[in-house]
Amino acid sequence: MTTARLSDGPDPPAPAEGFEPGPATAAPSRFAVRAVLAVLWREWAVFRRVWFSTAFGSILEPVTYFIAFGFGFGALVAEVAGLSYLDFIATGAVAIGVLFSSIFPALINGYFRRKEQRLYDGVLAAPLSIPELVTGEALWNALRASVVACATVLVAIGFGVRPDPTVLLVPVITVVAGFAFAAAGAAFGAVMRSTHSFDMIIVGVIVPMYVVAGTFFPIDGLPPALAALAVANPLYHVVELLRAVTFGAPTGAVLGLHAAVVIVFGVVAWGVAVRLLRRAVID
């Protein structure tokens, strides 16, 4: 094969007869798992170099919550919604860990890769579709969020939380929830015009989302308007699911309802992210 690299002759070579096929490439299908895996591989290639700082942060964050709220606040409050306060915030911390480690990277990467680094322009010139791109990135964030969630559970156990065996279902919940929040983050990242929008999205969406969700205090005590807001908040349903599997008898019907809300939210967020990203990157 020709790799003459320094030819600078004035005459271009005569075109060869026919085209010599390149290495075996798979024909692209409508939605290719292979393409999604390529997106995941890219994330993995970066992660294996920076895993330590990610791991460090994801352990330190829940430790901070346990020390600050568990010892500080927990000394004043004995029991919340039928749980010890430590148990209560443990599940809250898992949910917040999932939210933060999915929606933030999705939002920030979604903006920078599109607008500053122009990575999306590059990969979308290759045979990658926007649904495949959104799915791959959201899946990666979902997996990482689940690792964070599991780490948080382990930290909680270290602080004396004693979960039921059904706690093993936590990763199932967090993968789905992480995917949904990552898709939502990607949707916001696709509409951002400049870095100034970060503040607005964080203060206007993410902070209210994690505060009014029964994470650090139960929503029962809230005024009706805020309580209604909490019920509309997908994170509230994630928290309820986590509490149900971590501490005692999850009941089918209620569980199904919370799960349905999270899944519907995820599907809608994914669809919106695909639409908005298409509008942002295709002229």
């Binding site: 690299r5 030819s7 075109p15 060869a16 490439t25 290639a45 590059g122 990969v123 990157v281 002229d283």
Partner: protein
């Protein structure tokens, strides 16, 4: 590749304006035009990254953007704006695209090794892309687009901002691709690049093709063989201008003086034995461009 009566607008700006262009397989085709002529927009129409407001775009026999995924699998794109992944190493940058292009797992190491060789970065395979020099980045960007041996190679200003030596290396890469039989479409500001590499060029002005043909024929038909450049604005220049006018030759102001196009006819016409002072040079595509559009190329 065929674009028929294509229109692409951005708000009030018409980037591509009733453009018709047919590029046969196997040629190296150049799109030449000034800033904002619509070259990049045309290139993006060919990958489905821009969607035409009117007209039809057909690439590799497929209609765009409906079948863009198949087309993208068979083409290699080198964008005008660098979009290497700065968080990845050189080899990983190629690795991502090898996977995106669906190169079988068994063939991947060889394809990546070939890409590294093409980019002449085999010894920098594990360098983070962020740490590469501008020329290295361009070479990697080109190698990335050629990784899967595409049938169609789309290069948008592949050598912009590079020193002459690196530019010649890149010409070598493009020449090698052509030898493999691929169709090449490139845009450029550099006249010399177009003249050296392209079998055919189209001159694009305000979103439409104002002329096309092989560089030589285009030059000869529009400008003639030779150009006489006269510096300054002294009496000898005025005499030359007058002679050119009498001979019916087009002239243009060049910033530093005046150029007489097709000046090989001048001596005969002048016929006064005195000749005309100035620098003679071969006519170029730039002269063609200026003659046709009345605007400078860069």
């Amino acid at each position: 590749m065929a674009l028929t009566d294509v229109v692409k607008r951005f708000g009030a700006v018409t980037a591509v304006d009733h453009l018709d262009l047919v590029v046969p397989a196997g040629v190296c085709f150049g799109l030449l035009g000034p800033n904002g002529a619509g070259k990049s927009t045309t290139m993006r129409l060919l990958t489905g990254q821009a969607v035409a407001d009117a007209g039809t775009v057909e690439v590799l026999g497929r209609s765009m953007p409906a079948e863009s995924k198949v087309v993208r699998a068979r083409s290699g794109v080198v964008p005008q704006v660098d979009n290497l992944d700065d968080e990845l190493t050189v080899a990983e940058n190629l690795g991502v695209y090898a996977r995106l292009y669906g190169i079988a797992r068994a063939d991947r190491p060889a394809a990546i090794a070939r890409g590294l060789e093409l980019a002449r970065l085999a010894d920098r395979a594990d360098t983070i892309a962020d740490e590469l020099s501008g020329g290295m980045r361009r070479r990697l960007l080109i190698a990335r687009g050629l990784l899967h041996r595409p049938e169609l190679v789309l290069l948008d200003e592949p050598t912009v901002g590079l020193d002459p030596q690196v530019r010649q290396q890149l010409w070598g890469q493009i020449t090698a691709v052509r030898r493999d039989g691929a169709t090449v479409v490139l845009t450029t500001h550099y006249i010399e690049e177009a003249e050296r590499l392209c079998d055919e060029v189209a001159i694009v002005h305000r979103g439409t093709v104002v002329a096309r043909g092989s560089p030589d024929r285009l030059i000869e038909a529009t400008v003639g063989v030779e150009v006489l450049e006269v510096a300054g604005d002294g009496p000898s220049q005025r005499r030359t201008l007058l002679a050119a006018e009498q001979a019916g030759l087009p002239t243009r102001h060049t910033g530093t003086g005046v150029a007489v196009l097709g000046s090989e006819a001048l001596e005969v016409a002048a016929g006064d034995g005195e000749g005309h002072a100035g620098r003679r040079r071969r006519a170029t595509l730039e002269d063609v461009f200026v003659t046709l559009t009345g605007e400078e190329l860069t």
